[in-house]
Amino acid sequence: MELFSNLGLGFHTAFQPINLMFCFVGTLLGTMIGVLPGIGPLATISMLLPLTFGMEPTTSLIMLAGIYYGSQYGGSTTAILVNLPGEASSTVTTIDGYKMALKGRAGAALAAAGLSSFFAGSVATILIAVVAKPLTSVALSFGPPEYFALMVIGLTSSIALASGSVLKALGMIVFGLLLGLTGVDVYTNLPRFTFGSIDLLDGLSFVVIAVGVFGISEIIRNLEGNDGTPPKLAKVGRIWPTLVDLKRMIAPTLRGTAIGSAIGILPGGGAMLSSFISYNVEKRTSPNGAEFGKGAIEGVAAPEAANNAAAQTSFIPTLTLGIPGSATMAMMIGAMTIQGVTPGPNVITGNPALFWGLIASMWIGNAMLVILNLPLIGLWVSLLRVPYRILFPAIIAFCCIGVYSVSNSVFGIYMVIGAGILGYFLVKLELEWAPFVLGFVLGPMIEHQLRRSMLISGGDPTVFVTRPISAVLLILAAGLLILVSLPQANKARDEVFTEEV
């Protein structure tokens, strides 16, 4: 079986001591930062990204993936213990998780989240291993118009899944596409939008923007409503769930995994949506439906399984097509590019050790999360006790050090100030940065595919609608855009995102 030999290669790579160690360090640091209230996975990854630069590509990607899972799980911990979701996808977890915590069952809730996430992660990892190869061969048959259409649909579905105004999300995407073009144009060697700065010839640094808009502006916003006292913590209590708890978790975990795996593959960041959907499904089908909202363990297990499965399967479009499905995946692609790896169908054939090693390490990372988090809950709780007034100067220092080590120059640090202030004001205007990041990463790629499409078609724009695959994708994208612009659809979307929260 080819699959097994591939996975064998993967585990061989992932189990090399150095990779194993950095997978561990990544999950540990990711959880540590992710636990801090108000810091979601995007901010966590952008802060820790520079730590991975010194390593060789495989090790660095493995560590990065570890950081990603860690930050996700850390977010759930905060959601359960202090009722503060670190990110949108753990919002649902707060509903029943925090109620459980108030009843003195925080430990069981954390264990339920950890175990169901681990199960979902394992299933989704196998799914990636199975579908990656066939999908890659499909991807290799794609020409520039198909890629262009794929990216368009990725961008439009990120609007569908954004929580605010469609028009504003669209604007942020275009703004992102535009800023993504900064630097030397590869076709003509002309500098674009560099404002005469040599430091901008290589483009705006992805790390600088991420640290500025997700790290610094977040800190400024947190300082508004925070007088520096630590949040009220629930007692952890007994960690291991009872046999009854475990039995009640099984079916919801399975359903959550299925829902999450399916939605995660869709471009546009399915982690949040899948956790909302699976919560609502459980609420309607569970025999303990009445307990939902009052501390039902199903209400923790299902959405946590779903968002972890989705987080995992969202690697599929990223790794096989090189097209990020969500802002977090866009960051991963940004990081891979910095490492000199161009994500896409060629990675799997050109660098199989990296590809399969990364997949194997996803599973290892998930296993480490369970091993790491459950015994270390005490440590995470004590982190939550650190007052914010001590914490945020330290986070600022980490951000500065991180940005400095990307380029060994202070130019980026000044840019962070600008990005932070801009980030703060745009968030005040209710403009979301996630669509921007997707646009920023896709900007150069989408322009490249557009130019190539026009070159091969001799300037005939109908090429996008005469090639069947690209035509179908573009029609889907247009349909999606029309759908989300309809007032009724907007109302339904609001309901999905606000129900019972």
Binding site: G171, L450, M454
Partner: protein
């Protein structure tokens, strides 16, 4: 005549997008060749994007003026913005001349005053602690390329 209510968040977003569209659009028009459709120049795609951005911006402005609900801009925490910016600038300014530990110390010390009711003694102790921690972890641990002592100290 009644005062018309304006959604300031939509208005601000619209004006912001228009400003970006005009700025980037005019740069592209002035300095970047557009090329032809079958052989696009570096200016083609940006001008397309700026056009879309202008349309979105104008639509938002119109919507904000027609909107019946007044939405205020909300409170701005100038203190946090200014102090946090100063802290980051201090880090950048002190890195080469003074070295990493002092840069981190200064940045965290300044940053702490972004929060109301900062206690000078606690803040100094915390800044020293963070500085030692960062130097240990990043400079010695992660082998970061940064001076321990800057050129002020002959480093």
């Amino acid at each position: 005549m009644h005062v018309r209510s304006v959604n300031l968040k939509d208005l601000g977003s619209g004006l912001f997008f228009c400003a970006v569209g005009v700025l980037y659009g005019s740069i592209s028009l002035v300095s970047l060749p557009i090329g032809q459709v079958f052989n696009m120049g570096p200016g083609f795609f940006p001008i397309m994007l700026c056009g879309i951005l202008l349309v979105i911006g104008l639509a938002l402005v119109l919507r904000s003026l027609r909107n019946s609900d007044a939405v205020p801009f909300g409170q701005i925490s100038w203190r946090a913005i200014v102090v946090v910016s100063l802290a980051i600038a201090a880090f950048a300014l002190l890195m080469a001349p003074a070295g990493l530990p002092i840069a981190v110390f200064a940045a965290t010390l300044i940053a702490a005053f972004a929060a109301p009711k900062a206690n000078p003694l606690h803040v100094t102790l915390a800044a020293a602690g963070i500085s030692i921690f960062c130097t240990g972890v990043f400079l010695f641990g992660a082998q970061m390329q940064a001076p321990l002592l800057g050129y002020w100290f002959g480093g």
